[in-house]
Amino acid sequence: MVDISREKLLDMLEKMYTIRYFEQKADELFGRGKIHGTMHLSVGQEATAVGSIAPLRPNDYIASTHRGHGHCIAKGADVRRMMAEFLGKETGYCRGRGGSMHIADVEAGNLGATGVVGGGIPTAVGAALASKLAGDDKVTICFFGDGAANLGIFHEGLNLAAIWQLPVVFVCENNQYGMSMPVQKSMPVKDVAERAASYAMPGVVVDGNDVLQVYEAVSEAVQRAREGKGPSLIECKTYRWKGHSKSDQERYRTREEVEAWKKKDPIARFQKWLLEKGIATEEEIEAISARARQIIEDAVAFAETSPEPSPDTIMEGVYAE
């Protein structure tokens, strides 16, 4: 049985709600032309982000992906500054330069999202190497998708982490597709986790829509990493409810498939468990949901009233002083 305090469990639920509402709001703002470019929503995958990051200490690291809003919120980001980044404002995490795909908060251990699939894998390995060299006991979680597991850099990253026994946990969010490419067509093996065997590290498959299963598996891997026993690979089977990005016509999957997965909503499932175990009441859950909604409303208000970056500052930030 899971060993998590009630307070923490409720915080996890609030984070899941915050992620859900953040993305729904981002989607809406995009529809109203307030956000440009593209965005990759992780609606339906809230349990993997929250379940993976909940076992971490505040000064541990994460390296995120293009589908990274959830990771960012789960790591404790200020949602106002995230929203400001979306709107391209100076008050955003990246001063409006990065946008949805590049939110980072390095001081807080969020080594950032990257628009290049697999690009964060070596970053995470490097951060874990730094922890090992520094002799501290920080752990890094490296997020990536099933699609990223076919890039050369995935294999190079796992291999290096394994031979040097680095404190990194590889968390694969297998949402069944890399853009339009179904996982069964992109890999000859059934599970990404099988690949852990090539690097002599534990490879675990969990139900990525069950936040508690994710939490348990990642906790164990984090523990191993902290004790100097090296990396692990956790594969979370999950699903993205929305299209790959804003340009997706979703010709590659059926409506029935999407509907079937929506029935496995990780938030509804977690709530049901909390209620059944008597950990939270309906009213408490409602209050958590309302608070998450309020956080998002505040964030939008903050972002909308924030200043735009000035073109005079355009050359800043390319080099360090």
Binding site: G37, G88, R97, G115, M187, S247, D248, Y252
Partner: protein, 327 residues
């Protein structure tokens, strides 16, 4: 003549070449059912099947490298890298393998492949999805580099690229995909290495590439109202490069403005400027050669900053006026 989009022109070239030559096949991420990130290959899977329109995993290195290998073994692959930024993952295969193979093997092998890739900013996709990296490829002996600015050129140049026996990097611009223009229905070729004078004029030669041709032509309209007659030359292929057409224009006008979207430092504009000033055209210049290019910064997400990062129509107008101050 009917008008179609730049994206349709590219698709038509692919379709006609696949019909003509069974050795031509396509590979890339999401090019099948999805039709590619920009819809360029839509419908080709239905027409040619999954053997010839091959969806690949996200594996840029092997996409480029396997295309080179298939080409070496007698096929004529057209590979797609979804965003030019991700050619970085394929660089080893493109630059060390595909480009050098023929020379290293004493001229006894050939690598007839095309690598199509969308470049450019203006879509709000920020620093990792907006680059124009053509200069990197021009720098590698053995590669040809093509950058069409119109639907007509896109079709003719792509057909030539597919029929060419060398590795060709075919750079498309995302903002051009939906632009339209007249394109003949039948297959035709435009030779690689021949520039096109997109507009005649006597006062200034603007040498522009890709989407900057569109902006230069728009700027030329504004300038014409002020009595400044701009000649717009589009090299169309950066390698091989057509010095002759450019030089002829420079001799006529004596003033040169080079416009490209890629970073200014070590950009292709530096090469153009050097070629103009190191030859006989130098003595025809009445003004210093001027370059207008992307700032030396990654492309920012914010709309206003993004616009400021690369040349816009008004920047071209301003630069042209400055050049006219020289008599």
């Amino acid at each position: 003549m009917r008008e179609i989009t730049y994206a349709e022109a590219i698709r038509e070239a692919l379709r006609q070449e696949m019909q003509r030559d069974p050795r031509v096949f396509l590979m890339g991420e999401d090019i099948g059912v999805y039709g590619g990130a920009f819809g360029v290959t839509l419908g080709l899977l239905e027409e040619f099947g999954s053997e010839r329109v091959r969806d690949t995993p996200i594996s840029e290195g092997v996409i480029a490298g396997a295309a080179a290998g298939a080409a070496l073994a007698g096929m004529r692959p057209v590979a797609e890298i979804m965003f030019m930024d991700f050619t970085t993952l394929a660089m080893e295969q493109i630059v060390n393998q595909a480009a050098k193979t023929r020379f290293m093997f004493g001229g006894k092998a050939q690598v007839p492949m095309v690598l199509r890739t969308p470049a450019g900013s203006g879509t709000g996709a920020a620093a990792q999805h907006s680059q124009s990296l053509e200069a990197w490829f021009v720098h590698a002996p053995g590669l040809k580099v093509v950058m069409p600015s119109t639907p007509y050129d896109a079709k003719g140049l792509l057909i030539s690229s597919i029929r060419d026996n060398n590795p060709v990097i075919f750079v498309e611009h995302k903002l051009l995909y939906r632009t339209t223009g007249p394109v003949p229905e039948e297959p035709y070729t435009i030779p690689l290495g021949v520039a096109d004078v997109k507009r005649e004029g006597v006062d200034i030669t603007i040498i522009a590439t890709s989407i900057m041709v569109t902006r230069a032509l728009a700027a030329a309209e504004t300038l014409a109202k002020e009595g400044i007659e701009v000649e717009v030359v589009d090299p169309r292929t950066l390698k091989p490069y057509d010095d002759e057409t450019v030089n002829r224009s420079v001799k006529k006008t004596g003033r040169v403005l080079i416009v490209h979207e890629a970073y200014k430092t070590n950009g292709f504009g530096a090469e153009i400027a050097a070629r103009i000033t190191e030859g006989e055209t130098f003595f025809h210049l009445v003004a210093p050669v001027k370059r207008l290019a992307g700032l030396d910064i990654p492309i920012p997400y914010n709309r206003t900053l993004e616009r400021h990062a690369v040349p816009q129509e008004e920047d071209i107008v301003r630069a042209a006026r400055e050049l006219m101050a020289y008599k």
